[in-house]
Symmetry: C2
Subunit: 330 residues, 2 copies
């Protein structure tokens, strides 16, 4: 029996990536990456997506069971339509599934990056064997996904699970979404960078390694750079990560009350900081949870799949949606 071939594609703001999976695996056989050229419009990007898929797939997509696509969001995964896309001009209401299916003649499935990373961590990563998984990605933004009794929670239009857009600080800092005080606005990598800039500008942290790493230029201070200084032992920098960890942990207590998962997995760039982030996060969970039923025996762990989680998730989506059909056909 020949294993079905699954293709995963990630349409990002800066690059389009594609990977081929031979059978039910998270190890790609081959991968490709090209600039998105979002400014050139939808058609250019879609041509690039098609080209990337054909690059990793066998000629004429022979043996390909389907394609999973991480598309810009918010999107409707049931209809396969991008509803809006702040980072990609002209994409509102684009029926990506329909367009690609017509061009490729194989089934195409859409998902958002955080949901698909959650799917990947559940099927192949840190949450394997669990049935109720909360996944958070802490990066320039904060997103997430929930597996409940072995099913992805998508909501009526597939717009779940915007964990970054819940209120953390009433009337707090402006969020990318236009609201104020959301978790993403106080605890994402972007927020960490902005908080550090503000404190440095105010004259604090004279001796911080952040200045050195930024070459003395305030506007070069980013969350990534604060993280680098924190990992190098800079206490001033660590303070910003601790603060973010506390906000995330306090929100996690709410999420535990709502979702009652058996494991929490944290991915994204900020999560790579390890204990500097996870310790204050875990402490805050215990402090703010209403009782131990919610956190006892509920590990809060780093993601296992790294940067590829989304792409693996796009593959996992099509393994789930088209996999069994492909095997029946074979």
């Amino acid at each position: 029996m020949i294993a079905p071939i699954f293709i995963g594609v990630d349409i990002g703001g800066t690059s389009v990536r594609a990977a081929r999976f031979d059978g039910y695996t998270h190890t790609p056989t081959t991968k490709t990456k090209a600039p998105t050229l979002a400014a050139k419009g939808v058609e250019t990007v879609l041509e690039r997506v098609e080209k990337s898929i054909r690059e990793v797939a066998p000629p004429n997509l022979a043996g390909v069971a389907g394609v999973g696509v991480i598309a810009p969001g918010p999107l409707d995964p049931f209809l396969g339509v991008v509803l809006a896309a702040p980072n990609l001009p002209g994409w509102a209401n684009t029926p990506v599934k329909k367009i690609l299916e017509e061009r490729l003649s194989v089934p195409v499935f859409l998902g958002n990056d955080a949901n698909l990373a959650a799917l990947a961590e559940w099927k192949f990563g840190a949450a394997r064997g669990h049935h109720d998984v909360l996944y958070l990605t802490i990066s320039t933004g904060i997103g997430g996904g929930l597996i409940s009794r072995g099913e992805m929670l998508l909501g009526a239009r597939g717009l779940s699970l915007e964990v970054g857009h819940i209120l953390a600080v009433p009337d707090g800092p402006l969020c990318g979404c236009g609201q104020r005080g959301h978790l993403e606005a106080v605890a994402s990598g972007t927020a960490i960078g902005r908080n550090a800039q503000a404190r440095l500008k105010a004259g604090d942290g004279d001796n911080s390694k952040i200045w050195e790493l930024a070459g003395g230029e305030l506007d070069k201070v980013t969350g990534a750079l604060v993280g680098e200084a924190a990992l190098a032992g800079d206490e001033f920098a660590q303070g910003f990560i601790t603060e973010a960890g506390r906000f995330i942990g306090r929100a996690l207590a709410d999420f535990l009350h709502l979702f009652n998962p058996s494991i929490v997995v944290c991915g994204g760039g900020v999560s790579l900081l390890g204990d500097i982030l996870f310790n204050p996060m875990r402490e805050a969970v215990r402090k703010y949870a209403m009782n131990e039923f919610y956190w006892k025996n509920v590990p809060i762990v780093p993601a296992a799949l790294g940067d590829d989680a989304g792409l693996v998730g796009a593959g996992a989506l099509v393994m789930e949606e088209a996999g069994s059909k492909a095997e029946e056909a074979i």
Copy 2:
């Protein structure tokens, strides 16, 4: 074919209620109610529960497909065990399902009141025909339940969906659970009563109808009484309901971002205040939602089943869990 008989029981802090449903209906054939006598301990209450069930059921429980029980919580609905019960002394770790099944020789299923009210509103009430339903009960406390793609969201141990215990006001008023600033602590009937007491004590609302209804006694001011004054047109009283509605609406925006339901149903005593509560709630949802995808075409409506929702839900639980088996056996 004889319709299977389903029994619903509600073990409340003050009374034990039981209802009999002949077939898949939300209209009980007969009901009964007796004091819980919680202070006399678990065994007394369980005997009362058994007696109530036998009162509404046919002799020897002939034709009874099963019993659904609203038990004090938090509880594990999968194991049928009460984990803790602040209002009912001695109930921690009581295997209610096992005990009642041994005594009754029919299948018994446990659920918490808010989840079962959600189930009832979905199967028989305001959310019929929807697949993604968020239900809130706004009463002395605030609870809820979520139906996602036609399944109740329970979480790993069945402890979902504690919507009243999410942070609304950091470092805010003390919540019944021991944490501070939870939604329940600022927007429940209890909070409304407490807020009114504080303002009256401070000398505000001299001419409010609340004084009249309370017979001039500050400690007789409750949420229910504030609601009564608000319904009678008292503006001072209405202010407290508006405030609660705004808090609930702001939290609802978070819930829409997380759950993306197609309908929101609000039950519980406070919801009976109608527009006085619902208008500020709906306004806050629109103000705090990150975009219209989350609230457009998502009605926010009052519950349809009233006080019986929980009991009907207990019946609905056993209709779901034991119904088809019973029919196969018949």
